[in-house]
Symmetry: C2
């Protein structure tokens, strides 16, 4: 209507990002839930932990990786701890921190889910896009901001 013409592409891309996220998430999430009893964030948490040193991470770091708040992580891990996929481990140097430690059971569960989930992701994307397009989509999305709250991207300590 009265918007400057140049804003249209941005709005369009934004709207499509919202819709693409909603539809793909809905599909992949329900598959993961049905086949392995994990939510998308459960899966991502296990994955991040599995790649971390000693398969454990401070809860606050896990929060940053998953783009969740600390309380979100507490709630997320509640479920994973109840299922024995992750356990708490104390930190001798700093009594405030509790590590989230991936258990063997958690690693197995991730391994089992990983195969079919990765397959679903790939199938979904390749059903609609060519490999080159997927690649370029990934590169474009990577340029968007990661976190705004506080940028501790690389802390030496």
């Amino acid at each position: 209507m009265s918007e400057p013409q140049n804003a249209a592409p941005a709005v369009q891309a934004w709207t499509r990002l919202l819709r693409a996220h909603a539809s793909t998430t809905r599909l992949l999430s329900s598959q993961l839930q049905a086949e392995h009893g994990l939510t998308l964030n459960d899966y991502e948490a296990l994955l991040v932990l599995s790649q971390a040193e000693e398969r454990r991470l401070k809860r606050v770091d896990l929060a940053r990786r998953l783009l969740l708040t600390p309380s979100g992580v507490t709630r997320l891990l509640e479920g994973l701890e109840r299922e024995g996929l992750v356990e708490r481990a104390a930190c001798a140097q700093d009594l405030r921190v509790t590590y989230a430690q991936l258990t063997d059971s958690g690693a197995e569960r991730l391994e089992a889910a990983s195969c079919s989930h990765v397959g679903s992701v790939r199938a979904l994307l390749e059903e609609h896009l060519t490999v080159a397009e997927i690649d370029s989509l990934g590169s474009l999305l990577a340029k968007l901001p990661e976190v705004e709250g506080g940028d501790e991207s690389c802390r030496p300590g």
Copy 2:
């Protein structure tokens, strides 16, 4: 680890879609909320209604547009009705349907929010991407599936 090499681009693109959605949504949503007291879905709902014929839509159609379930729409509209931005309107031909009708007040609120929201969207994207990149991002995202549940894309009746 043991995944076929070809799956990597898809997984990477997917992960970045999740993160890009989480971070941009968080930012834009909090701006919209702070400046105009609307959630992203409130805004989208008002926008969709404003573009509809006679500024009203069956609730079930609104659900499909917003990628929400019928119950999600009921809850979403509860808030908008309470604020007088949308009202219920009966359908003489079919007593089951209730239209969601944009009020003048709703149209004004949308108009007010629209300007700054569109500006924020544009600023956020253009801060990280060129116009050409935004354009191509939009095109790529448009190719992803819209809805899976039931495809009544164009119903004649």
